[in-house]
């Protein structure tokens, strides 16, 4: 029996590493396929040359417009998909942990609605005034103001309880979504710009977006890895976590900020992409483990794989006309129903 325990621990470790390796390979394969895919046919060797040329400056003979397609269009879009997928998945892990609810997701607290509100404001302002105010910035501001409100409303004498957070999230979120509806009404004929933005899309993402999303996602992953055990213990409930020496209010606040920052950045860059943040951690908890030290990196990779896959499918189907957010929800929703009912039965 005793040897069994060490054996099980070793076996689990091998399982985590194997899953991690498989997902990494999968991600690389889809990324390469994504680079090759598109209206302009460019060979794999040329693609490699173009990337090496940009990074280390080797001489190449490829046409300049091909280089532009790879370097300025396809590569940033793919990287953006990866980092946004990672960010949303990690944020899902975090919110499920701190809200002590495996069905929470990055949008539960209304951060995304705040970002949508900010973005809608910027879009209509730009249309009406003719002055350009960056949508991304406005969305970020909207998200952070929402976060501050959620924190202020849910704080009570003893700290932040998960039910308080969820309730204040719902309140703020519904106020803001009627705000968004109001702006849509004001926009009149131009409503499609807002609708399209909110639906979530990765088309036309450039290096600016990558440089915004990538560092935030990576930093948040590293940071939450350090605090992973606390997140494990939070699932035991506040009183027990407290008796184990975890300051539940402080931990919840720290993770709330980390999770919200990633969500804010992801939503600001590419709109509301649904279901990645719910499905990825939920499925991995079910299939692999709930232990956050393993769950966080595996979720990050799985999130990247799923979003990149979904985005590649939209590119095949429609040359990027269908917003990826619609696809993830269309496929993710029914899939989730299947998993959920299946789980209940077993």
């Amino acid at each position: 029996m005793r040897n069994d325990i060490s054996g099980i621990i070793k076996l689990n470790k091998i399982k985590y590493i194997a899953v991690f390796a498989i997902l990494t390979i999968l991600l690389a394969l889809i990324a390469v396929a994504g680079l090759c895919m598109g209206a302009m046919e460019i060979e794999l060797g040329d693609i490699l040359d173009i990337i090496l040329n940009k990074i280390v400056g080797i001489e190449i003979t490829v046409k300049e417009n091909a280089a532009a397609v790879i370097w300025d269009i396809r590569l940033p879009r793919i990287l953006c998909a990866c980092f946004v997928g990672m960010g949303l998945a990690i944020s899902g892990v975090i919110f499920q942990g701190i809200l002590q609810n495996p069905l929470a997701d990055p949008y539960t607290l209304g951060i995304s609605t705040g970002a949508s509100f900010g973005a809608s404001l910027a879009i209509i302002f730009n249309l009406i005034s003719g002055i350009y105010f960056p949508t991304v910035l406005s969305a970020l501001i909207g998200a952070f103001i929402t976060l501050i409100f959620v924190i202020l409303i849910s704080k009570n004498g003893t700290g932040f309880e998960s039910s308080n957070l969820i309730i204040s999230g719902i309140i703020i979120s519904s106020i803001l979504s009627s705000g968004v509806s109001f702006i849509k009404m004001l926009a009149g004929e131009n409503v499609s710009a807002i609708v399209f933005w909110i639906m979530g899309s990765l088309s036309a993402k450039g290096w600016n977006d990558v440089f915004l999303v990538a560092p935030v996602s990576v930093a948040c992953i590293i940071f939450s890895m350090f605090l992973a055990r606390r997140l494990d213990i939070m699932t035991l409930g506040d009183s027990t976590a407290d008796s184990l020496g975890v300051d539940t209010s402080k931990t919840r606040l720290i993770f709330l900020i980390i999770g919200s920052v990633i969500t804010a950045v992801c939503v600001s860059v590419c709109g509301v992409i649904g279901f990645i943040g719910l499905i990825v951690p939920h499925l991995l908890r079910f299939w692999i483990t709930s232990k956050n030290r393993a769950l966080i990196p595996i979720s990050a990779l799985f999130g990247a794989v799923l979003l990149l896959l979904a985005d590649s499918i939209t590119r095949i189907l429609s040359n990027g006309e269908i917003p990826v957010g619609v696809l993830t929800t269309l496929i993710g929703g029914p899939f989730f129903i299947f998993v959920f009912t299946h789980r209940e039965r077993s």
Partner: protein, 255 residues
């Protein structure tokens, strides 16, 4: 016997109304103390106050000669463990992982991979009779088994003082007795003091060294079970008339 917890003239209230009044008690190393009383008599509140879950009390709570408020949160977790009533666990950890969480105060920044830690956890799971489902999902075991896993988690904290907050309330009689035997066994061996809040009066009188009876937020009586045991005690503390069948070997409350 060394005293490890001492409470002097403790007052505590919600919304400025005094709820706990003039509580005094001592807990010695290795002692099993049961706290009984009606619902709402202040048992759980007392536990919350001692564990710092609610603030703002008057009086003194001294742990090993130190004011408990001055002991750092994490240091307190190295000495004092609490086991609450069974609850609905929503996440899918296996039992070994849950028990390992008990080591958190001692191994804050590392994962449980050292051989000595694994052996320690394995030992505790053996003592609590939970080793056979170490790799099972915590949602897939019975209520009695779950509570033993959570007990193992509390014992993994290596506590000197263990609080049980109605930890056996949801269990059937055999699971209750089994749990009590495990607790007595482990705690007597390690010199851990146990403060057990419970409603099972037979169990309290049979297995405790001392009993504290609370009534309306005050200590009605504090002493050895045999000294407290009479009809008046039940009338005063629980408002019931009972007969007590009592000899040297056992006692029984006849309703």
């Amino acid at each position: 016997m060394t005293e490890i917890l001492k409470i002097e003239n403790l007052y505590f209230g919600y919304d400025r109304k005094p709820f706990l009044k003039n509580i005094c008690l001592e807990v010695n190393e290795g002692e099993m103390i049961s706290v009984i009383g009606e619902n709402g008599s202040g048992k759980s509140t007392l536990l919350k106050v001692i564990n710092g879950l609610v603030g703002g009390y008057k009086g003194k709570i001294i742990y090993k000669g130190k004011d408990i408020r001055k002991i750092k949160h994490l240091d307190r977790a190295k000495e004092i463990a609490v086991l609450y009533q069974n609850f609905d666990y929503k996440f899918m950890f296996n039992c070994f992982e849950v028990v390992s969480m008990g080591l958190y105060p001692h191994r804050k920044n590392s994962i449980i991979t050292r051989k000595e830690d694994i052996d320690f956890i394995t030992n505790i799971m053996e003592l609590t009779d939970t080793l056979q489902f170490a790799n099972k999902n915590i949602n897939h075991i019975s209520g009695g088994q779950l509570q033993r896993v959570l007990l193992a988690r509390a014992l993994a904290q290596k506590p000197k003082l263990l609080f049980l907050d109605e930890a056996m309330s949801g269990l059937d009689i055999s699971a209750r007795i089994e749990m009590m035997e495990i607790i007595l066994n482990v705690c007597k061996k390690n010199g851990t003091a146990v403060v057990n809040i419970l409603h099972d009066i037979n169990l309290a009188f049979e297995k405790s060294d001392k009993i504290i009876a609370l009534k309306n937020g005050e200590v009605y009586s504090f002493g050895k079970p045999r000294d407290l045991l009479n009809n008046e005690f039940f009338r005063e503390v629980f408002n019931v008339e009972v007969d007590i069948d009592y000899n040297k070997k056992y006692f029984r409350i006849i309703l």
